[in-house]
């Protein structure tokens, strides 16, 4: 494999992996608080369609429009996150069913498609897509330049995000409390931590970050809206959280791996090199199952496993 091919694959891995990372980071934070959100796909699509709409209807400089589109898409998805939070935390509905309901409701055959048709979003491409942005002179450095420094602003932002998220989770007091809520809400409650507040906030954040991922699809990857264009990225993000052991840094690495697999078969076909595309497609899912089974055993479960109270609604005993 010559270095040119390697660079193309590496750059694509980062490019396609970024939206997966954002959605997965959001889900990671939500799950760290103990809430399971299966509605990621729906939230991404809502973010994508509202971002696309914004991009077509807001006037101003390119920068301004892009920023506003991202903001609007993120906010819309955050609202959907709020809906999930209400169902899962306040009403204590089965979190799986609630998440699936959101995906059906907002997904490719649902609200996002409805908005697209009502607002005529698909009729033309985004006026101000998120373009590549070279980082000054760094983009010219051999090998590393084209891979890392010829990306778009959301990718650069994702690198900041992974650092911030890691510090937040593992080095701040609030992050410790968040993790306590996810591991043992009874203990957190006994220590005076507001379990409900933490869960609500992080579920909404999860929705917002899924929205960022969705906007990436509609404004960066293919700057034209297509119904259901995330094509299951939301589900992959959920798998990615497990694959990354609920840690932001590993999630980023996993996102790039999954991104590479996604683009690999296409890239190789274009160069007349044939690897079975279906096997590549299957790898992320098989790997996730393996990881999950390993995590269920005693050794790994304690060291690397899911937040202990994931998916279980919290009911405080009456005083």
């Amino acid at each position: 494999m010559n270095s040119n091919l390697f660079m193309v694959i590496a750059a694509s891995a980062i490019f396609y992996g970024t939206p997966l990372f954002f959605a997965a980071l959001g889900e990671l934070l939500t799950e760290r608080s103990g809430v399971l959100n299966l509605g990621v796909e729906g939230m991404m699509l809502i973010g994508g369609v509202t971002g696309a709409w914004a991009s077509q209807h807001i006037g101003g400089t390119s920068w301004f429009v892009v920023l506003m589109s991202i903001l609007i898409g993120t906010s819309a998805a955050a609202l959907v996150g709020l809906l999930h939070a209400f169902l899962a935390i306040t009403l204590r509905v089965n979190q799986t069913v609630a998440g699936l309901a959101i995906t059906i409701f907002a997904g490719g055959l649902g609200l996002s498609s409805y908005f697209a048709s009502v607002w005529n979003v698909a009729q033309r491409p985004a006026t101000h897509p998120i373009r590549f942005l070279d980082v000054g002179g760094l983009a010219d450095t051999p090998i590393l330049g084209p891979i890392f420094f010829h990306q778009n602003i959301l990718t650069y932002f994702s690198w900041i995000a992974v650092v911030v998220a890691s510090i937040y989770l593992f080095r701040t007091r609030v992050g410790l409390q968040l993790r306590a809520v996810g591991e043992s809400p009874q203990t957190a409650d006994a220590m005076g931590i507001n379990v409900v507040k933490y869960r609500y906030i992080h579920t909404v954040i999860g929705g917002a970050l899924a929205g960022v991922g969705g906007v990436y699809y509609s404004l960066a990857i293919i700057p034209t809206w297509v119904d259901g264009m995330t094509k299951g990225a939301g589900w992959i993000a959920i798998a990615l959280v497990i694959f990354g052991f609920w840690r932001p840094d590993l999630t980023l690495a996993g996102a790039y791996l999954f991104g590479a697999l996604q683009s690999l078969s296409l890239t190789l076909k274009a160069r007349n090199m044939h690897i079975n595309g279906d096997l590549l497609d299957a790898l992320p899912f098989i790997m996730t199952i393996v990881v999950l089974v390993l995590l269920s055993g005693g050794w790994a479960k304690k060291r690397l496993g899911a937040p202990a109270s994931l998916g279980v609604p919290y009911e405080r005993e009456e005083r």
Binding site: R171, T172, R173, V174, G175, L176, Q177, R179, A180, E183, S184, Q186, T187, A188, A190, M191, G192, I193, K302, R303, G305, A308, R319
Partner: protein
């Protein structure tokens, strides 16, 4: 130890549905003292301490802290005021390190965690109070004794001046218990106050300066430990000798055959600690064997091992001298062992299911209830109607979910089911707990009738009166061992109280 009162509770009243847990309790603790709170289960010790630490609000009464009247809206408020509790069931996050658990919930550390600072402070406290534990270890890696030290460190870290420990030695080895006492002494030397909840007389005598004994929700005495004795404490704890009515028994079982033999059984509890240690007992046909002891000394595990719900790590169980396979419920059932568990509504019954469905919980695989794997509704209904009438269960219909029944009727359903299988052995765990007087009489008469019919009954109860009135013989379980085996005629409340508190028979003179 100074004379200064650190905390005073006056006239505390706390009611729960159906029971008055604290009925005008007075209690005070001085600076620099270890003050023991002694009493049986249900005496009101836990409720009192939960009020002191802000978990409950008293219905009546006052709390004074350093002379000022005070009231807590939450456990956090109590902790901020300097009162910390070390619970029997730890509140720790298993996957966190010791340091992380200690600092959790502390609002004063600022935004960023300084792992090094916290670890250092934890080390300091560890050294000072003989609480050796590695701040960087994860809680799931620690032994139970070490986990308890983390709980203590948690409250010390937050500057608690008054520490309440709830049955702290229940989960400790003797060596760990001794180490704990050194810690407590070190703490009070600095002027802190320790309130030590226990039912173990030896420990209370060894480590406390004063003892307050609670019984039936009331204070029955506060004594200087140095001027007291185990005998006196036991008498206060269980009440004066009263003439009780022994139940009339129709048969004398002393010359009958052995129906249940438990031989050298050991077993672990859910946490992996030894709950039963080389336990042996026998029950004859028609005999009622009472098992006395404060809850948490292995009673539940004993019942579960005999019923086949729990695997015994050593020893055998035999019915009519035929050994039954270890840890298999269905074999125990078919060998004729019936079990009325302590937790009626969640273990003994499926609470959301109907009476008739619960009555077939063990018989649903046999004829006439089912045939060719199909349940026969008519047979189920008839079975239920007949049993409901026979045992006088008050219910609008046999389809009523059992959780809607009153406590007494719930127990009747359980008894009906267990007796209708014509068992050879009946394990009855706390059968009358929480029931009203009429229901209590009803349950007791069923148990006696069963024994008169030849059933060997293992009666596990915290109610000494009940044991003394119904049993032929009584054994006492303490820390997973049988520490006494007496015919009821020679058992007294006092000697039983001493045994329950861990004092061996030979030492019952001091």
């Amino acid at each position: 130890m100074s004379e200064k009162i650190a905390v005073r509770m006056s006239g505390i009243v706390k009611r729960f549905p159906g029971v008055i847990a604290n009925d005008g309790v007075n209690f005070d603790a001085r600076e620099g003292e270890v003050h023991a709170l002694l009493g049986e289960n249900g005496a009101g010790k836990s409720t009192l301490s939960n009020i002191l630490t802000g978990l409950y609000r008293p219905d009546n009464g006052e709390i004074e802290l350093n002379g000022e009247s005070i009231s807590f809206s939450s456990p956090r408020a109590a902790l901020n005021a300097g009162i910390g509790m070390v619970h029997q069931h730890f509140r720790l996050v298993n996957s966190f390190t010791v340091a992380e658990n200690v600092v959790l919930g502390d609002e004063s550390t600022g935004t960023f965690l300084n792992a090094g600072d916290v670890a250092q402070k934890v080390e300091e406290l560890s050294q000072r109070y003989n609480l050796a534990v590695d701040p960087r270890a994860r809680v799931w890696q620690l032994s139970v004794g070490e986990q308890q030290r983390v709980e203590i460190l948690k409250v010390l870290y937050r500057g608690a001046r008054i520490l309440i420990l709830d049955e702290p030695t229940a989960v400790l080895t003797p060596q760990e218990a001794d180490a704990l006492f050194i810690t407590l002494r070190a703490m009070v030397k600095e002027g802190r106050t320790v309130i030590f909840i226990s039912h173990k007389l030896d420990e209370v005598m060894a480590v406390s300066d004063r003892v307050t004994v609670l019984r039936g929700g009331r204070t029955v005495g506060t004594i200087e430990t140095a001027h007291s004795s185990r005998r006196e404490l036991a008498r206060l704890m269980v009440g004066r000798e009263v003439v009780f009515d022994r139940v009339e028994r129709k048969i004398n079982s002393s010359d009958k055959e052995t129906v249940l033999r438990v031989n050298a059984v050991s077993a672990l509890d859910d946490r992996g600690n030894k709950a039963l240690n080389d336990v042996s007992l026998t029950i004859k046909t028609g005999e009622v064997l009472g098992v006395a002891g404060v809850s948490g000394n292995g009673q539940r595990e004993l019942a579960e091992v005999i019923a086949g719900m729990r695997h015994a790590s050593a020893g055998t169980i035999s019915v009519n001298e035929k050994e039954i396979p270890n840890g298999k419920v269905r074999h125990a059932i078919s060998a004729g062992i019936a079990h009325v568990p302590e937790d009626r509504l969640h273990t003994g019954l499926a609470s959301s299911h109907s009476i008739e469905d619960n009555l077939i919980l063990k018989s649903y695989r046999t004829q006439p209830i089912s045939r060719y794997s199909v349940l026969r509704r008519k047979a189920i209904q008839e079975n239920a109607s007949q049993l409901v009438e026979q045992y006088d269960v008050k219910t609008p219909s046999t389809e009523t979910p059992v959780r809607l029944l009153s406590g007494g009727n719930v127990q009747k359903v359980l008894l009906a089911r267990e007796f209708s299988a014509n068992p050879k052995v009946l394990i009855a765990a706390s059968p009358t707990r929480g029931l009203d007087v009429g229901a209590i009489e009803n349950v007791r008469s069923h148990i006696v009738a069963a024994a008169d019919n030849g059933v060997g009954v293992l009666l596990i109860s915290e109610d000494l009166e009940e044991l003394l009135s119904l049993s032929d013989r009584i054994v006492v379980l303490y820390e997973g061992r049988i520490v006494g085996d007496l015919p009821t005629s020679s058992a007294t409340r006092e000697s039983l109280g001493l045994l329950m508190g861990g004092v061996a028979l030979e030492e019952h003179t001091s």
